[in-house]
Symmetry: C2
Subunit: 396 residues, 2 copies
């Protein structure tokens, strides 16, 4: 690539503006040649000649080396990314939904000497976790990953625990402070976290997870009784994305979990993210940093732009390993289920029940259930039900 | 490299055994061909044919692809590493003293297409911090690094704060538990931490630090009065290696520091290590993991072996940057100096004094001093003096 690396940017929201801002303030080797936006007449700030609403102005421009895709629409993002790659342009993306939903195809597009597709910003913003899993940990070296990978829900849970807010109050506060979107369902129902977990699992274990079969359960039904239960057990509640290999099999799910207060993930507050990488010979390595926000996410985009300019690409070596594990939902987890009218013990197929509690205000059971049973259950989605994973005593 | 990658190992202490153990338990692509040790007749455990006391049996063997150097003697380690590199063998080392003391020469040896020299295990054992600084953060992206990079001193300080032990008692306990060597001076006087800081600074900022001009001050004179002072100010004391760029200049030093209890580094306990990477647009990223021990360090060695087998090498791109900062000791730090008979206010050239305290048991001053003044001062090394850095309010 010639003296200045030329960038075509799709999207000028929070992250796009952040990136433009960082690049404008620093004299870097990168130049934003064109920005493609959807709304033609919206006031944009920088020189209006910079903007176009025609994707071809970027995709067809042979002078543009790197396409940075920061739009919300995952289907449009997929078209742009694949077209750009096919035209020999490197692509940097932060769209976890687009990436997780199309990993198999995107891996197929990345043959030897093809341009880079990089997406560190799609996962935990400022934390360089994808690069580290991809490059540092050899195949077979990671036994498990677990993390707080969604800033919105972590902000909500932090405010509920610290300030005694209800879920609804905490969600409103998150929206006021820019930590939740007007339609927050992808975040609070743990889809966003699931997409990120899929990306992490590919780089940690070499497995492309079937997104629809990975169980995700959010925090929209959490109530003060659940928080009281956590407190009385020396725990907090966090939305945890977890994937672990055991005996050649790989489990993966996103659920609220009761996290003991001495566990590293309990200290990850507000919109921060944190990831633990469990390894057999050195316990766990913990990575912590800002998980959301224009500038932190744009910093990750910039790191990827810089890497793409040096022709760095993910090798996906672990996907070629003979010993990579096979995805399964046939794995048991210990859960707490709080419920009202739904007779959860009857409706959910549990392996065993340890404790039953009932009172005038609420009921709960604790017991063991297969991930597959949770995935198949409709009743766990009832608004009077909240499910949380109980701590595994042996896990650090 | 052919089917099995052949390794020649120098040293069979804690880390060497750990590596052999990990490789024996897992069917990897790596085979330990020969182990060179100093003491000929010591019982070694594995097949005695594996062992040699003649370095040539490894260096002259054309079948050996990678030399892993895990010996204590830094001068011998340097000879082995340079000879191996010159013979086209990749080298993996954990010897921070050898590396930090010879970085300029070692960088010179690493021309294009030369074999790799990798040393993740030399810094923070299980935490992949060198690789991350080298590859993830572009030139200019890091404003500062600060970390707890020495497990021995962190174990001692943790036991002093948690169990009320004196320095001597905590040191004995560390020695009993294998966290301190029989001659602990390199650790407790902060030389080990300084060597690691030099490696970190090269990969974070592209600067090869002049080891002898980097101020290191350990914890051997810490007393209960200092711990009481920390407690009364809502802080703990940690041995902090810190390097920061400002206005084109780079400062670096290792000193005990008062760390507020809400600071991420305050939670790094016992033999663990933790590093904060400060970046302008996304605050700080925090990396935490086991900083010592045979298996954790050997895991890092194995990650490097794996990377060397894929011909990964550090590019040291930042050392080529036009905007890399220049090392300086002309920078002021706010310190606490506790003293007995030494008239520290007279002997140490301070820029200013904020507070003076004296009593029958001890005295202290707080004030501002240049790093250069600390480096030149003999009296700060007196046994009745303890210096600690006070928190910078603006730093997170």
């Amino acid at each position: 690539m010639s003296s200045k690396v030329r960038i075509g940017l799709f999207g000028f929201g929070c992250v796009g503006r952040g990136l433009y801002d960082i690049l404008s303030r620093n004299n870097t080797e990168f130049h934003v040649e064109k920005v493609c936006v959807r709304q033609r007449y919206k006031h944009r700030g920088p020189d209006s000649n910079l903007f176009t609403y025609d994707p071809k102005e970027i995709l067809d421009d042979p002078n543009i080396d790197i396409v940075v895709e920061l739009i919300d629409d995952h289907e449009a993002a997929y078209s742009l990314a694949t077209e750009a790659l096919q035209r020999g342009k490197a692509v940097v993306s932060a769209n976890k939904r687009m990436l997780a939903g199309n990993l198999d195809t995107l891996l197929g597009l990345q043959k030897d000497r093809s341009p880079s597709l990089l997406y560190e910003a799609a996962c935990c913003a400022s934390i360089p976790i994808i690069r580290t899993l991809e490059n540092y940990y050899p195949s077979g070296a990671v036994h498990g990953i677990e993390g707080i990978v969604n800033g919105t829900t972590n902000y909500i849970l932090t405010r509920m625990f610290h300030d005694g807010l209800s879920f609804g109050e905490a969600l409103s506060l998150a929206q006021q402070n820019g930590f939740a979107e007007s339609d927050p369902s992808m975040d609070i129902e743990a889809f966003d976290a699931k997409f990120k977990l899929c990306l992490l699992a590919t780089h940690a274990f070499g497995v492309v997870l079937p997104v629809d079969k990975v169980f995700n359960y959010g925090i929209s039904t959490i109530a003060k009784e659940d928080i009281a239960y956590a407190r009385s057990h020396g725990s907090t509640i966090k939305l945890i994305a977890r994937s672990a290999r055991e005996d050649g099999q790989l489990s993966a799910a996103v659920l609220p979990a009761f996290i003991p207060l001495d566990h590293p993930l309990s200290s990850v507050g507000n919109e921060y993210n944190g990831v633990l990488v469990h390894t057999p010979y050195s316990d766990a390595q913990f990575f912590h940093g800002r998980g959301a926000g224009g500038h932190p996410t744009a910093s990750a985009v910039l790191a990827d732009i810089s890497a793409a300019a040096s022709h760095y690409r993910y090798n996906y070596d672990k996907t070629q390993s003979d010993t990579k594990p096979a995805f399964t939902n046939d794995i048991a987890v210990d859960v707490y289920c709080r419920y009202g009218d739904t007779d959860i013990a009857r409706e959910l197929s549990l392996d065993s029940i340890d404790r039953r509690y009932s009172s005038k205000t609420h009921n709960y059971i604790t017991g063991r259930v297969q991930l597959e049973a949770l995935l198949q259950s409709k009743s766990v989605r009832n608004t009077d039900v909240f499910v949380g994973v109980l701590p595994v005593v042996s896990q650090s």
